[in-house]
Symmetry: C2
Subunit: 188 residues, 2 copies
Amino acid sequence: MNEKESTKDKIIKTASRLFQMQGYHATGLNQIIKESGSPKGSLYYYFPDGKEQLALESLQVTAKFVLDQIVDGLQKSSEPVMAIQNLINDMAERFEKEGCKGGVPVASIALETSLISEPLRNACQLAYFSFQDAFTQKLISSGLEENRAIELGIAINSMVEGAFLLSFTMGNSQPLRMVAKQIPVLLK
Amino acid sequence: MNEKESTKDKIIKTASRLFQMQGYHATGLNQIIKESGSPKGSLYYYFPDGKEQLALESLQVTAKFVLDQIVDGLQKSSEPVMAIQNLINDMAERFEKEGCKGGVPVASIALETSLISEPLRNACQLAYFSFQDAFTQKLISSGLEENRAIELGIAINSMVEGAFLLSFTMGNSQPLRMVAKQIPVLLK
DNA sequence: CAAAAATTATAACAACTGGTCTACATACAT
DNA sequence: ATGTATGTAGACCAGTTGTTATAATTTTTG
């Protein structure tokens, strides 16, 4: 039972990685199959609705992974300024090490599919909201007023996503670093 | 001579729009040809290097258009806080009217091509740098110290790009609005 | 062991991809 | 008028896309 699910998991894991790196349309089912070492028959057995379903489940895996990373990072420090700043700097560090080859987690799928697939768009929306809410909850738990915490959660999420996109394109972690540096001034 | 260049311009204009809306890989040459009303022969006459060259020139047109929009918006008010805030709110307003169908100007191409085409990646980088620099120059011209202005230019650019991406995915201009609201606190 | 269910293996599908090629028309120079 | 770029027009190519259908195989169950 454990090993049997691993075929589906292998497909999702590989698809997750490729969609993130190359985007939705540039990633072919054949490539996913080949790189995951799984047979093509299995793909439509596990994902009868085809590419869209596979992308959806892959995205959910990716989103959960990123969210865990954010939540864990924010827990490391009780003080929100430090916590958020360290989280972003950790992202920058990881980015520098991996050489930006990893792509931008949710954005690549969001941009390509939001206008052509409502289920995928919705999954991206949920993912982004979960990120945003992680920031907001951290701020609330440190005593910030709720409405202000929501505002800041949205703004910080925007900053981080934008900085990630820019760092990826520039091939340089500077945007992430600069955004981290502004966190103290933004939070008072 | 005037009318003849309009064929190339028509192709670029159509391509520019489609790449922005659908992304690089989802936009086929045939679609560009059909929607622009130009024959395929002309495409490879004007763009002998094919899709990559067409995308590059289209991106440059898009980038210039966006930059002009930023520069014009920033000129409307001498005070940088108001200027930037109004610019972002104008973006939000436009976004609400167009119903987010327009896509995200540079990001869609940046994400899809940065890892597979160095010329395109570089064009995206230049585009983003020009946006960033517009903010920085505005801040410098209002008396801000240069290093701080550069830092803030990068951060504001990140915020705006991120908010645009989030607004697009959420189908809601709230992220843009919230980012605009934080500009005063960010600029002290 | 046999029956049933779960999974994998192929082959084929129509539709499309980016790109090439040649034929044709128009304009402009000499 | 004639020759030469410039530009138009579209058929055509090999390769790939996502998807489907069916057959073979393995695994699980009775």
